[in-house]
Amino acid sequence: MIENKKMNWDVFLQMRERVRGQWETGQSPDLELDRTVMALKAVPEHKNFALKLRHAKANNITMIQPRAGVAVLKEHIALLQYLETKGEADFLPSTIDSYTRQNRYENAKDGIRESEKQGRSMLNGFPAVVYGVEGCRQVQDAVGVPVQARHGTPDARLLSEVIHAAGWTSNEGGGISYNIPYAKNIGLEDTLRYWQYADRLVGFYAEQGIEINREPFGPLTGTLVPPSISHTVAIIEAILAAEQGVKNITVGYGQGGNILQDIAALQTLDELTPYYLKLFGYQDVFVTTVMHQWMGGFPADEARSMAIISLASTVATLGNATKMITKSPHESQGVPTMQANAEGLRASKIITRMLREQSYPSSKELQQEKELIKQEVNALLYAVLNAGKGDLAQGVVKGFASGVIDIPFAPSEMNAGKILPARDAEGCIRILEFGNLALNDDIKAFHRDKLQVRAAQEGRPVSFQMTIDDVYAVSQGRLIGQPRRKG
């Protein structure tokens, strides 16, 4: 039975043997722990993700990071170098391909071969495990800023081993956030354990004096996720990571679209995460926030997409996010060219620079929205903990099963999938159908009232059709979905 307990080192080491056996590159002597520690200690400060985040937060700067990854190593390096020089990326990613995410390394290997043959990437990301420590180290050495693995991998144990051994000082993911949006029928017990492993590894390095950053994936399904739900997941994953010894955590949030709600979300995320970490007994965890530029469907038009990217940058900067994950004008079309990717970065960067000294003043409305989010997070966290009879990891398994915590539009069968979100008349994301979500009646009434106002304005009932309209809205150039005209 899964528990929120620091993994015993011997158990870890035993598991590690099996993990290294999952694929040929796991056998590399570069994965011996004495070597990996040496490799990580050799990473210069400016290429350490965790330390650069500390610097950014101290100076109140919003840093930018793209998504990027292609099948062939040489191309991947060229891509990252381009994004660093022409896109002014503060942090670099290596977005991992979907076969690797599903541990289908053989498929990934085929994908590399096919890509080399066709002269274009047939994979939607960089197959880090297939390239192994050696390949990933080439990536690390080729660039001047910290590198992170970004993926969506339920079982990222081998991947985590490989990337850290290569000197990559950050890893995205978590037992919930890389399961519910990214899998169909993998149990939460399993993914929680896989991610305890990844966190324990980072905790081990922390014991060796090496600070590595971990980032729960904030946006979840990227589709109309109410802030309190993604916050709850982020905080839970932060706590689970802290238990394994992680000291540097970035919690995330996907831009919702209503500026005030987004600022309230970013501020509460930054306030609640350290608060709960301390409450659960983890005193010395350094917390930063990351905002993801709009994670739902983008418009096909590049000019419109650039506008959304810039709006997102405005929100992230005013909301004091420490980091922002950028999109590109090709978002609705496909994996961007390096040029399009850099365009998104440059647009983002100028906004973060121009607004660096500015802030979003406090107001009654902002305080109310923050208060609402805090109450909701508190209720959800309490319900999860309660479901686990005091154990958070157990609570996650039981809580998702019963639906006291529930994520909209998720593919996973572990998720109740009963709640439905929709926008209110100002574009804030509210909840229309609660399923078994652990919110009290006052809060539910608040959501319903808000949606009722919109429904009245639009002369239609509150219904799933609203949700659908909202899912399409941004790609059609609106925030709030319009009722379709008849005929």
Binding site: D97, S98, Y99, R101, Q102, R104, N107, D110, G111, E114, R120, S121, M122, L123, N124, G152, P181, Y182, A183, K184, T221, T223, G296, G297, A300, H330, S332, Q333, G334, V335, P336, T337, A340, F409, A410, P411, F464, I468, V471, Y472, S475
Partner: protein
């Protein structure tokens, strides 16, 4: 009432469009068999055989569609689904590519209709009606 099988092929987990396609096609009077995300060609084919479906609507969003869809027509025929309509849509290749060329590649693979990014399912209902009869 015509039966259509929908799902998302390969290692692809994009679930949003899939849920909406189910809703919209059901509203338009189809009997929708939704096999969901992370579905293999076999899953599609088995579902089509079991339900005597008239069409399979393959979604692929994540970019590996070209690899995942290879030999799907042949596999259908092998399984005895001789006349089934095969549609594919979403973001079916990696990156922004010239759609005409992409369409040709998928037609060569035996797909009857191939849709570019940005087409929503509502836009394809007319095609379905034409191909399957109202």
């Amino acid at each position: 009432m015509k039966t259509v099988v929908i799902g998302v092929i390969g290692a692809d987990v994009h679930a949003v469009g899939n849920k909406i396609i189910e809703h919209v096609l059901t509203e338009h009077g189809y009997n929708v068999i939704n096999i969901g995300v992370l579905s293999s060609q076999e899953d599609f084919i088995n579902a089509a055989i079991e339900t005597d479906a008239s069409a399979i609507l393959v979604s692929s969003l994540y970019g590996h569609g070209e690899m995942d869809c290879q030999y799907m027509r042949e596999n259908c025929e092998e399984a005895g689904l001789a006349n089934i309509k095969l549609y594919v849509g979403g973001n079916i290749v990696v990156g922004k590519q010239d759609f005409k060329a992409v369409e040709q590649r998928f037609k060569k693979m035996g797909f009857d209709r191939v849709y570019p990014p940005g087409i929503s399912i509502e836009d394809a209902v007319a095609d379905l009606q034409e191909d399957l009869g109202e």
